[in-house]
Symmetry: C2
Subunit: 262 residues, 2 copies
Amino acid sequence: MSEKWCRFRLGSTTAYGLVEDDEVAEVSGSPFDSYTLTGPRHPLDSIKLLPPVVPSNFWAAGPNHRGHIEAMAARRGQPPTYPTAPSPNQRAVNALIGQGDDIVIPKDCSGAVQPEGQLAVVIGKQAKKVSKEEALDYVFGYTIGNDISQRVWQQTDRTLWRCKNADTFKPLGPWIATGLDPTDLRIIVRHNGEVTQDFSTSEQIWDVATWIQELTKYMTLSPGDVIWMGTQGADGDMVAGDVIEVEISGIGVLRNQVVGEG
Amino acid sequence: MSEKWCRFRLGSTTAYGLVEDDEVAEVSGSPFDSYTLTGPRHPLDSIKLLPPVVPSNFWAAGPNHRGHIEAMAARRGQPPTYPTAPSPNQRAVNALIGQGDDIVIPKDCSGAVQPEGQLAVVIGKQAKKVSKEEALDYVFGYTIGNDISQRVWQQTDRTLWRCKNADTFKPLGPWIATGLDPTDLRIIVRHNGEVTQDFSTSEQIWDVATWIQELTKYMTLSPGDVIWMGTQGADGDMVAGDVIEVEISGIGVLRNQVVGEG
């Protein structure tokens, strides 16, 4: 059975909830420890969806699709270099925004801010030295990430700190779907309605189970931790007024609009 | 006035407390929002000190002392390359340990695990686009970090994910001292009692205020966020049984022992 878990704000309340058709059933507590259904049900369009989780450890697969590596290398006029082992990056939670929030293009950047549709894995149980075979037992569910990237800074930011983690550069949501098989999910990015990325998680260089195995060789993953799984291909620049949608089969559509910094 | 804030565990209680001589005055709440003194006072040697904060965003200055850059380059037989602009790294909270906890050398690494004494800045107020002149107003206090690094992995880990963030590689503590001037603090590392690093924060390439200014140009810092300020020089390998102490004037001594992975 697939459940859809959201986190939302309504008035002064911030809570987790179960999305059921056009309503959200509010809970107290969180799906990562314990929770109880509290009774209130809210129309989905009456609440503000928040990033469904704020991870303690926020990992990203980095280059994990050959087509993305090739597209980025071609732009630089260089031959592609494929990774020989999983090489995780980190992302920073200051950059998280939720469904419908503005993606803000910083005033002092040159433009060249681009979307990347990604599957986001949400961990459900503490995990250390987990085998590939057991790895998916430690997953709570899956949500959608848009790994916004400033491509000029990306050439000079030694650690990708700014090009990937400027405020609002990490849209996440709209909710976490449980019970999915992550090995063949379809990911579609629409830029003002036009399809700019359309790929499958089956094309990943290393799959979800492998990334969990590799990370947990050295590092403990905790409930609510998140791993972004990389993107395929490459989209063009976003400008103020654009709308970016990332759709993943079985989860939904993450939609955000672009504004310039005020 | 300088206060010393710790976080501790005693029985089933985890709480913040004020260190006063050999006692800790327990509080409810946290110094990062609001708190009240709850009455109980505990002998300092009766409590387990925890990392004094678990940051939402965990930044590190990376190379920020010329002597460290030169020492590391000399080991590689290369000329030193100095950074031309602040280039922050991230660290991961899975790696945090507190005063007296074991530093565990992973079984499948080649050794070459080394300490780095560092000043750790703890943010007290939400900060975005903060000027250098105002930057220190956003600091809650300072604590001590030991930026444990596996030097062989450091040559191949593109993003330093594993060489810096393996579990137990980020000792932090023993507590946060408020009211300090960060511009000339003395940092001493003792490896089994022998001084292996002895330097001043006055030797930083970019000071605390500059790092806060640079980070907050693009990224919001929140209460409890942490910035590690880099190290000077370079120490040798640690082996099981070693004791590493990092002392910073006005804060105290962070002490951890080394064990091999069981």
